[in-house]
């Protein structure tokens, strides 16, 4: 990777473009809702340059603080403006090993783009789309022309990374840059964590995920699949017998939560995790060419209001459902999903049943036949500032459906904790780690959803990177 020169070159004063934000080219909703190909097509070079030219190149770029991994946004946009695309990729990869993935799935509107100076008066620069464009530019190059971050002098230390999702991969990349040997253990048969099993193909193509992971392999990160830490190896075995000097746990989201209402174990009730894993990881949408089946409902009710609920609803539609309902107990305004995902779901014909909460899943002969639900209204704001939903007495009604997908989040997976009794946990069973990712167990660090509970890809990556710095310091101290 060429060294990045961050000193601004002497240049004639530029005048930023005052054009409106460049829209993202998308496939038509009626066409895309029938297949699994990507919805957003990405900018062309012209569009990327036009959008980059909207950037004010502020003296104090606040966007960078808005990014959980502090990408030098100003600088990579400057490289696009100058046509120095490979240099732009290098700027991105200094901070983010997975730009093509993050450009697609980060909630930029709450992060970098929310901090863009332009956002105060008009629409912010489309930083996420530009990141994606550079990430894709890199992946479109031949392998030997791609940007591979420089690897440090071998330190002699080796680190085990548990989980190949966003936090694990970010941690692994960062540790390699500092010269440590890194082995990533993945429990499934394919690496990527939620990027592979959770986020659907139409939002994040699996070829992109695998290509970005391939770049980490080129950097020397070893990725071993089919290893369940907590089952195949315990933490102590990794440290004492397998020769690792430190361990980072990024095992991710855990056991899916269910509603706790009658009928939940009927056939046709899925956790969003199961439904999405069958379709994304196991490719059930290509059954019987792939062996894993999935129940293709005609009328599907998805419970929840987050991004995972949107993914499940849109996936059900693509599997051929005639009607897909999104059942959420608050109103659209309170939905935690990204606006873009909500908008896409609505375009694709997902019917929103807001202020509505399931009471019972109805069935016949073991299979789902409907959902008894109640209308809700919003009461006073609670401690978190969100208005608490309350049942409207006597408003029960039945939603006609043959499939129910529950997307309510997850709770901690107990596998590692069970085999490491000396590892401190929080009251809710997550791994207790400080701001730098250090746990109470010497040499063991953790980050991402297994520490915080369900969060976003980029927050997990931020935690993985922070932990990598802490691991680096810990290894240095130990060497003395």
């Amino acid at each position: 990777m060429p060294p990045v020169d961050d000193t601004p070159a002497e240049k004639p004063r530029r005048r930023p473009s005052r054009a409106p934000r460049t829209p993202m080219p998308e496939r038509d909703a009626s066409e895309r809702a029938r297949d699994f190909a990507e919805v957003s097509l990405g900018y062309s070079e012209e569009q990327a340059v036009a959008e980059a030219n909207r950037c004010l190149q502020c003296k104090n770029p606040t966007c960078i603080e808005g990014c959980p991994v502090n990408i030098d946004i100003k600088s990579f946009i400057a490289r696009i403006i100058d046509g120095e695309y490979a240099a732009g990729v290098a700027v991105l990869k200094q901070r983010n090993a997975l730009p093509a993935a993050c450009g697609r799935v980060c909630p930029q509107e709450e992060q970098c783009e929310a901090s863009c100076v332009l956002a105060r008066t008009k629409e912010p620069v489309a930083i996420g789309r530009l990141e994606r464009w550079l990430g894709d530019f890199d992946l479109a190059c031949d392998l030997e022309h791609r940007c591979v971050p420089e690897v440090g002098e071998p330190s002699g230390a080796s680190v085990a990374v548990v989980g190949s999702g966003p936090s694990g991969l970010a941690c692994a990349g960062e540790l390699r840059r500092r010269g440590h040997a890194v082995t990533v253990f993945e429990s499934l048969h394919a690496p990527g964590g939620v990027l592979t099993y959770g986020i659907p193909e139409f939002r994040l193509p699996k070829s992109i995920v695998q290509a970005e992971i391939e770049m980490l392999r080129v950097m020397g990160v070893e990725v071993v699949t089919d290893v369940v830490v907590g089952a195949t190896y315990t933490l102590d075995e990794l440290l004492a017998e397998e020769g690792f000097d430190a361990v980072f746990i990024g095992s991710g989201a855990g056991l899916p939560l269910f509603l706790g209402i009658p009928g939940e174990n009927l056939n046709g009730v899925y956790s969003a995790n199961e439904f999405l894993t069958r379709v994304n990881l196991m490719k059930a949408y290509e059954f019987p060419a792939y062996d894993t089946p999935v129940w293709r409902g005609r009328k599907v009710a998805v419970v929840g209001g987050g991004n995972v609920a949107m993914d499940a609803a849109r996936t059900a539609k693509r599997l051929g459902a005639e009607e897909v309902f999104l059942v959420y107990r608050r109103s659209e305004e309170e939905m935690p999903a990204r606006r873009e995902e909500v908008h896409h779901a609505q375009q694709e014909g997902i019917e929103f049943k807001m202020l509505c909460s399931p009471l019972e899943i109805l069935g016949h002969d073991g299979f789902v036949t409907g959902m008894l639900a109640t209308r809700m209204e919003l009461g006073e704001a609670d401690a978190s500032g969100r208005r608490a939903p309350m049942c409207v007495v006597g408003s029960e009604f039945v939603i006609d459906c043959d499939t129910v997908i529950v997307a309510l989040g997850t709770k901690a997976n107990p596998l590692i904790a069970k085999t490491a009794p000396d590892l401190a946990l929080t009251r809710r069973g997550y791994i207790a780690a400080n701001d730098h990712g250090a746990t109470n167990k010497p040499g063991v660090f953790a980050g991402g959803d297994i520490v915080t509970g369900s969060a976003t890809v980029i927050l997990a990556m931020g935690a993985g990177k922070k932990a990598a710095s802490a691991i680096d310091r810990w290894l240095a101290e130990r060497r003395g």
Binding site: S187, F287, L415
Partner: protein
């Protein structure tokens, strides 16, 4: 890749397969299971094992040909490899200090019953094994059980073609009646475990059952394997596979096991057609 190093057909539809998997063979314990995948297009299925060697690094899987994946497995020969073997998963069976115990192994359930009975006997318990099958042809591991230091081995078949002509519940009931049991365990088809539990319940004998729900990842992530135990939802993969047989909702388990049966038949029919073309 996990190479197959030995293979044996135990009956017309039951097969035994030793797979080289040193990292996981070190850790296996009686009552656990592995997830495996035959090839890149394969599904992930949980499979039980009857034996393993930590020092030589192999695991012995026993399976019945029931659907496409097990059909495909049955066609593999020594030198072929499995794409994925993951585990060992699930909580090992509690084998210490169970006292006077009856272990019922029905059909392919005998594969799990074998290491469980062995571990219990090695831990000093008084173990009676009830080994059952529909007929002589489907009876497996009889010689292996005979070689264990058991109190007794009772062989039963539905048609009397081997051992006693009886259902496994009959000798279990006799042991209960004779107040000869502190504990019991049943491993086999859900319907058999249900009736074993009913038999033990009559006499107030505790019973552990080893459940075999559908799974996808096998590590707690998906919840496909949920079972109702004492009215609470549990995950077969991380909370089980062993549960209190008196608290399990067997009707729900059996219903959930059938959810994909139409699709599975379709996939297996396709595979069988393909196979006969190649022959």
């Amino acid at each position: 890749m996990f190479p197959i190093i030995r293979q044996r057909q135990l009956s017309e539809s039951v097969f035994e397969m030793d797979v080289e998997a040193p990292a996981v063979a070190r850790k296996a314990k009686a009552g656990q299971f592995f997830m495996l995948r035959v090839d890149e297009h394969g599904e992930r299925i949980p499979l039980t094992f009857s034996d393993w060697s930590p020092s030589d690094g192999w695991i012995r899987f026993i399976f019945m040909r029931v659907g496409k994946t097990t059909h495909q497995l049955s066609h593999l020969v020594v030198g072929d490899s499995l794409t994925d073997v993951v585990g060992p998963l699930g909580v090992p069976t509690h084998v210490e200090g169970v006292g006077r115990v009856a272990v019922v192994g029905g059909g392919v359930g005998a594969a799990v019953a074998y290491p469980v009975a062995r571990a219990m006997a090695e831990a000093g318990s008084d173990v009676t094994v009830i080994l059952g099958a529909r007929n002589r042809e489907l009876l497996i591991l009889e010689d292996e059980f005979r070689a264990l230091p058991l109190k007794e081995l009772v062989v039963v078949t539905d048609d009397g073609s081997a051992g006693r002509r009886a259902l496994v519940t009959e000798p279990l009931k006799e042991l209960c009646e004779a107040s000869a049991l502190d504990h019991s365990m049943a491993i086999g088809p859900a319907i058999m475990m249900k009736f074993c539990a009913a038999t033990a319940r009559e006499f107030g004998v505790p019973i552990t059952v080893s459940l075999n729900p559908i799974m996808v990842d096998g590590t707690g992530m998906c919840g496909a394997c949920r079972v109702s135990v004492a009215g609470e939802t549990k995950f077969g993969c991380v909370d089980g596979p062993d549960f209190d047989g008196h608290a399990v909702d067997f009707e729900e388990l059996m219903s959930r096991q059938r959810v994909y049966s139409d699709l599975e038949r379709e996939a297996d029919a396709d595979f069988s057609r393909e196979c006969s073309c190649h022959r």
